[in-house]
């Protein structure tokens, strides 16, 4: 039995699958935290893409640097999102997105 080398395509399939799972989570979940977790999966799919392209094409490390930056940004964004979720929970006692419906028209 031979072990096939891992190619760029394998990475892209993985990241595509991860991205799709993330989109599915975002679309189906009602809980604000669960939606944010879906977004996190989407961001990490993009990171896998960046690192894989960086490894397989060309000499530079642009993609890996980009992935590092995007991990940091994602952390900052989640910190702000969770702060907002906590502050809305203090007012409404729920984080169900369907129940946040004071603004409409």
């Amino acid at each position: 039995m031979t072990i096939l080398p891992i190619t760029l395509t394998d990475y892209l399939i993985l990241s595509g699958a991860l991205f799709s799972i993330g989109v599915f989570g975002v679309l189906t979940r009602k809980n604000a935290i669960a939606v944010l977790m879906g977004v996190e999966l989407m961001l990490n799919a993009a990171n896998i893409n960046l690192v894989a392209f960086s490894k397989f094409t060309g000499p530079g490390v642009d993609g890996q640097v980009f992935a590092l930056f995007s991990i940091v940004i994602a952390a900052a964004e989640v910190a702000v999102a969770l702060a907002i979720v906590i502050s809305i929970y203090r007012v409404t006692r729920t984080i169900d997105l369907d129940k946040e419906d004071t603004l409409k028209g």
Partner: protein
Amino acid sequence: MMQTDLTRSLLLIAPELIVALAALVALTGAMLMKRSRGREAFYIGIMGMLGAIAATVILYERLTLSTAFHGMIAIDPFGLFFRLIAYVSILYVLLMTMCSREMKDTQGKWELVAILSGFGIGMSMMASSTNLLMIYLSMELLSVMSYLLVSYRRGARRSKEAGLKYIIYGSIASAFMLYGMSMLYGIAHSLGLSAILTAFMDHSYSHITVYVATLFVLAGFGFKIVMVPMHMWAPDVYEGAPTPITTLLAVASKAAGFAVVLRFFYTAYISAVSMTNYYVNVSPVRWLLLIAVIAAFTMTIGNIVAIPQNNIKRMLAYSSIAHAGYMLIGLSVISKEAVSAILLYLTVYFFMNLGAFFIVMIVDNSLYSEDIDRYSGLSRMSPGLSAAMTVFLFSLTGIPPFAGFIGKVVVFIAAIDKGLYWLVIVAVINTVVSLYYYARVIKKMYLETPPEGVRPIKVGVLPALIIISLLVPTILFGIWWAPLQSFAHFSSFMY
């Protein structure tokens, strides 16, 4: 050599350094002056913005086209134009916040100034970046700051709900954008926008990848522009956010979106035919047609849904969606005139939309309401305010002799030049529809009687001065637009 390049680059971002300094001073002030009510914070913010505006103007005057930080950002009239818009709009938002009832009892004014400064830096970097990494970073800086600003009122449910909706929609849009950028990186093997153009020229790509990547990246930019179908967040967020912040989103955030989308397409997707003034789309994607269709939908949906609204901020939110549609007409043709038309429209839109939101805030300060019904008989309560509001609303409709008319005309001419007649016809019909809901407010103000026992609305000196400073350009540029046009034309140059 490295050292000199760094010093040179730092000089070229002097406005941002000044703003960053103001932010640091504000943060230090937040720690040291716990007792202060935060009035000083606004003075620091205003000083910082005035300094940044001065530095930007000096840079604009002594302009030498170049890139800074090893090609990460470009220093060109286009970028400087948007840096100017960024700092002027934040200056106005600071002044507005000082006059606002909603923000009066809000804690943390020092931090507010720091966050607004961060927003300004994000916006100016967005307009200047020529690299995917830089675009992503500056856009996230701007987004995270605006999430914080939208949910800034403590204990106010509407503000928090708006913030939650904004951050969830926003982070989804930016995740799509990042995925699109990763695909573009795979095609170009480099993060520079010019590398993408080279890859398109060499035909080293697969069509489907470029299509998906373009759509994904456009989703991220479209979120900032508020174009259909990425517009769902706007009405809720505009209504729930404190009015000064709504203004910031409607004016500055949208301008930043247009800056980045113009830079992206004109640097990475379009190439100038040598020795001529013509540009061609070198990418395999027919994005011009796509943008034209999106523009038609954006203005139609914005205008039609604005009609039944009863909250004036919500109505202005839909109207700002419609205006994004008009501006997108300029993006659906490629020519130098189209870019300068968008810049001119953005300048005009800046004055008239800021003015409309400012008056909404002043009325809300005394009537405690944002309902259009409460505008009944406003002309008896304050003739000055209703006259100014009438000018802003007519200008937003695009009725001569106000500036909004000139904005629309230059965009339409740019489209007619390239034979895009159907889109211009849709836009003209839309303008007529928009007259209905703008005129409804004017009718309420002048033709209906106010409820019993209302008192006249008092307008302070500072608000009055601000309104006049917005009113003068709105009228002046409608009559004498040549200087604005040449400024926009010069600013449409990208490095």
